[in-house]
C-alpha cells in the first residue's frame, strides 16, 4: 500500500515537472524570439557596418574621396586632404583595425566592458572601439555632448560613452540622426579634462558614426 502510494506520488511529481518544463519550453520560444529580435538589431547594425566597409574598400581601390551612397548615412572622419594617398592609406588601415568590438557581444558583456572603461580608463586609452546603442545628446553650458547609450540585459541599468564625430564639425541637429536612434560608433578611446578642471572624462575621438 505504502509502495503504491509512493509510486503514485512519484508519478504525480513527474507529471507536474513535465508540465512545468513544457510550459517553460513554450516561454523559451518567446524568449528565443525576443533574442531573435535583439539579433535582428545586431544583424541590422552589422549589415550597415559591412556596407560601410564595402564602400570604404571601393574608395581604397580608386583612391578617391568617399561619396555618400544613396540611402547611406555613414560618414568617415579621416580629414586627410584629397590627393594625400599616404595618409589616406594609413587612415584606412587604422579604420580597419579594431581593438574592442562591442557590437559582437551580448548585453551583459557590453555593459560590463563599458563599466570597465569608465573605472579603468587607462587600460583602454588609444584603443579603437566600436559600440552600438542609442544616440543621446546632452547640452551643458551651451555645449552639446553626444553619447552612445547601451543598456544591460534587464534594460534598467544604462551606461554609455561620449563620442566626437569626426573632427567635431558636424552640425546638430541637421547632420545628426534623431535622439534615441540606433547608432554604431567607432572611435579611439581617450580621456580628457575640461577647462583645467579636475574631473576626467572619457570619450571616443575621431569617431565614425553610422545609423
Amino acid at each position: 500500500m505504502t509502495h503504491r502510494y509512493q509510486c503514485k506520488f512519484t508519478i504525480k511529481i513527474i507529471a507536474v515537472l513535465s508540465a512545468f518544463f513544457l510550459l517553460t519550453g513554450c516561454g523559451a520560444n518567446r524568449a528565443v524570439s525576443r533574442g531573435k529580435t535583439g539579433n535582428k538589431v545586431e544583424d541590422t547594425v552589422q549589415g550597415q557596418i559591412q556596407k560601410e566597409k564595402d564602400s570604404s574598400n571601393a574608395a581604397d581601390d580608386t583612391v578617391k574621396a568617399q561619396d555618400p551612397e544613396p540611402g547611406s548615412k555613414s560618414q568617415t572622419t579621416e580629414s586627410s586632404g584629397s590627393g594625400d594617398t599616404g595618409n589616406q592609406s594609413q587612415a584606412n588601415a587604422d579604420r580597419e583595425k579594431l581593438d574592442c568590438d562591442l557590437t559582437t557581444m551580448g548585453a551583459d558583456m557590453v555593459y560590463a566592458n563599458v563599466f570597465q572603461m569608465m573605472t579603468e580608463p587607462e587600460r583602454f586609452v588609444g584603443k579603437r572601439i566600436r559600440i552600438a546603442g542609442i544616440l543621446n545628446v546632452v547640452s551643458v553650458d551651451g555645449n552639446n555632448y553626444y553619447c552612445c547609450i547601451i543598456k544591460d540585459a534587464q534594460g534598467c541599468c544604462q551606461n554609455g560613452i561620449e563620442f566626437v564625430w569626426g573632427d567635431g564639425s558636424h552640425r546638430y541637429p541637421d547632420e545628426y540622426p534623431g535622439e534615441n536612434t540606433q547608432i554604431c560608433v567607432t572611435g579611439v578611446f581617450e580621456t580628457y579634462q575640461e577647462n583645467g578642471g579636475q574631473n576626467k572624462y572619457c570619450r571616443l575621438k575621431n569617431a565614425e558614426l553610422s545609423w
Binding site: 509512493q6 558583456m109 573605472t119 534598467c156 541599468c157
Partner: protein, 277 residues
Amino acid sequence: MIGMLMYYLNFPFVQRALIAGILIAMCSALLGVILVLRGFSYIGDGLSHAAFGAMAVAAILKLSDYSLLVMPVTILCALVLLRFGSSERIHGDATLAIVSVSTLAAGYLLMNVFSVSANVSGDVCTTLFGSTSILTLTRAQVQMCLVMSLLTVTIFVLFYHKIFAVTFDEDFAAASGIRVGAYQTMIAVLIAVIIVMAMDLVGSLLITALLVFPALSAMQVFRSFRGSVIYAAVLSVLGAAFGIVFSILASTPVGATIVLFDMGVFFLHLVVGKIRG
C-alpha cells in the same frame, strides 16, 4: 558558442566574476545548511535588506568603500536576529520581518530623497537583483572576497564538530562544555559577511535562494551532515559557474539565472529523493 565563451574568458572582469562567484557560492552553501537545519532559512532575506539599507546610507554619505558601513551594520543585525532575536513580546520571525521590511523601505526612501546618482532606478535594480554587479567587481573586491571565503572555510573546518553540535542540539552542546553563545555569535558574523558578499552575485532579493536551494537539494539525497554540506557546496559552485557563463552568453541577468538553475537542480533532487524513499 565555445569560441565565444573562450573569447569572453579572456576578459579580466569575467575571470574575476567567476572566481568571486564560485567562492561566494561555496561559502553560502556551507552556512546555508546550518541555517536550514536551524529553521532560519529566511534570515538571508532580512540581513540582505539590512545591508541594502546600509548601502543606501553609505551612498548618501559618499563613502569611498561601502563595505565600511555595510559590513558592520549587517553583522549587528545578524547578532540581533540570531542571538537576541526573540523576546516575550516579539517572536523571532516577527523581529526578522520588522528588520527586513523597515530597512528595505528606509534604504529605498533615502536613495530617492538624497539621490547621488543619475540613475537611481538602475542602481536599486542592480543591487536588488544582481543583474550585472558580479561583472563589475574590482580586483580589491575579489581579493576581499577571497580572504573572507578562506576565513569562512577555515573556521568551518576547524570548528566543524562544535558547529555540528550547536546546530543540532544546543542543550547537549552546552552540557558538553561548548560555549554555545560564542559559536552562535561566530556563525552569525560569518552569515552576515557571506550575505554582504553574496549581494554582488545574486542581489539582495535573491540571496535566500543561494543559501537555501543547494542545502535543500543536498538534504534530499544525503542523510549525514558532512555529506550534505560537501554536496551542497558542490551544487552551489556548479550553479554559480553555470549561471555566470550562461548569462554572459545569453545576456540574461546573472542573479536570476543562477537562482533558476539552483531551483531546477532542487526539483531534480526532490524527485530523486522521493524515488529513493
